[in-house]
């Protein structure tokens, strides 16, 4: 989706403002939202790609107004309602109404270290032929889907070189919408800064992007 989240190359967003001795969380509610979001994934009602897409479909003005954890909170609430885990009125009141179907037991405190250690296994150990070889010239597809995509706008239609083939990975563009994992090769593609941004860019600089088979065509 051509949302404001896809901001690589946009201008006038202001200077970068680093903060000295920044805490992990500025407010306690941020820490709670962080934890709630992570603990909902093991229930398998949605995945990380779905969660990213939920943020992407915020109206651009709201997306930019919200802080990072406000976006997380907003997306979490939307997903809870969409997937029937809570109703809007339950969320407004903070108390359950009626009995909720408990599909999966929640992650316990003892299980958290294992949950972190296990991480997200999104590579797939299956034989899928690679469409491209390392060193090959490729072009980012010119696509403008309204769904989720990890192909940033700035790389669409641009010429790059496959630097590395990382093997077979879940394809987020379909996985976000429960349309299957569509496992395929994931690459690092090198785009020169001049290919992406023109003559204003420094001649030797480059941007490296992770792209999947379905994002690329032979050049």
């Amino acid at each position: 989706m051509n949302g404001v989240h896809d901001m690589g190359g946009m201008q006038c967003m202001g200077p970068v403002r680093p903060e000295k001795n920044e805490p992990s969380f500025h407010e306690r509610w941020e820490a709670r939202v962080f934890g709630l979001v992570l603990l909902m994934f093991p229930l398998r009602k949605w995945n990380l790609d779905t969660f990213r897409y939920e943020q992407e479909i915020s109206a651009p003005d709201k997306y930019l107004q919200m802080s990072y954890y406000e976006r997380w909170l907003s997306s979490l609430v939307q997903l809870l309602v969409k997937h029937g885990l809570a109703t809007r009125s339950e969320i407004d009141n903070g108390t359950p109404q009626g009995t909720a179907a408990k599909a999966t037991p929640p992650v316990t405190g003892e299980e958290v270290p294992l949950m972190i250690a296990r991480g997200l296994a999104v590579n797939r150990d299956i034989a899928v032929p690679a469409r491209f070889k390392e060193g090959q010239r490729v072009r980012g597809h010119n696509i403008n889907p309204t769904g989720h995509t990890r192909l940033p706008r700035y790389a669409r239609g641009k010429l790059g070189t496959v630097e590395r083939d990382h093997g077979v990975f879940v394809f987020p563009d379909t996985n976000a919408h429960f349309l299957g994992e569509k496992p395929q090769h994931l690459y690092t593609v090198r785009f020169t800064a001049r290919e992406l941004w023109g003559e204003q860019a420094a001649p030797r600089d480059a941007v490296y992007v992770n792209l999947w088979d379905d994002h690329l065509e032979p050049a």
Binding site: G8, E22, E27, G35, G94, L186, L196, N210
Partner: protein, 218 residues
């Protein structure tokens, strides 16, 4: 709850100056959401506490600094690290969530690497902890790819024109860690002393590692 964008103001404006004693509207909403999810049996509050404590106190940039310092003192570790970041970093006990597939990119006098996630805010949690606000900001995400030299200048880092800047956009679940250049005149420092010099910003690629200004190496 569907519109949290305008909810920064507390419910009682006359108390708005007292941030210590009046929970914000957001804090109240989150508290209410948490108790709902706990009552519904979807979340175990103990799990929430362990998770937060882990990312607040146990997983952070010291992990990455350990990796960097080891690579500086152990050439064979460095070779393994650059060949397979995930496996070499697992040797030191780090990995898992936000570090399932780690790629280490090396800074040299000719090449400088910078990490960004333009589409969201992907960051190597397993080795650096949670990202700072500036990394998640629109300013950084938008400009790191089109104007990396301008962004680095805002961090006080001016790179010569003939240094190649490589910007790594984290568009998949691969997570990057920059291996900074070892500072000059640090030959006599131990691995632990070296690790103490390595900053989070240097491992994101927006700073260099320098010797501490006060007598570390005398």
């Amino acid at each position: 709850m569907h519109d949290v964008a305008h909810s920064r103001e507390p419910h009682e404006p006359h108390l708005a100056h007292d941030h210590q004693s009046v929970p914000s509207d957001l804090a109240l909403r989150v508290k209410s959401l948490e108790s709902l999810l706990v009552e519904k049996g979807l979340v175990d509050p103990a799990a929430l506490d362990v998770l937060i404590d882990t990312y607040e106190h146990k997983i952070g940039p010291r992990n990455g600094a350990h990796v960097v310092a080891r690579a500086w003192v152990d050439q064979s570790y460095k070779s393994r690290l650059l060949a397979n970041g995930t496996a070499a970093i697992a040797e030191l006990g780090y990995g898992g969530r936000g570090g399932d597939y780690l790629v280490v990119v090396e800074n040299t006098p000719r090449v400088h690497n910078v990490i960004v996630c333009t589409l969201c805010s992907c960051y190597p949690w397993a080795v650096l902890g949670l990202p700072p606000v500036w990394y998640k900001s629109a300013a950084y995400r938008s400009r790191a790819v089109i104007d990396p030299r301008g962004v680095l200048r805002e961090f006080g880092l001016e790179l010569p024109e003939d240094v190649e800047i490589r910007v790594w956009d984290s568009t998949a679940e691969l997570r990057y860690l920059v291996l900074p250049e070892r500072p000059a005149n640090s030959e006599n420092l131990s691995e632990e002393e070296l690790a103490a010099l390595v900053t989070r910003d240097a491992m994101v690629g927006v700073a260099k590692v320098t010797l501490a200004p006060l007598g570390v190496c005398t």
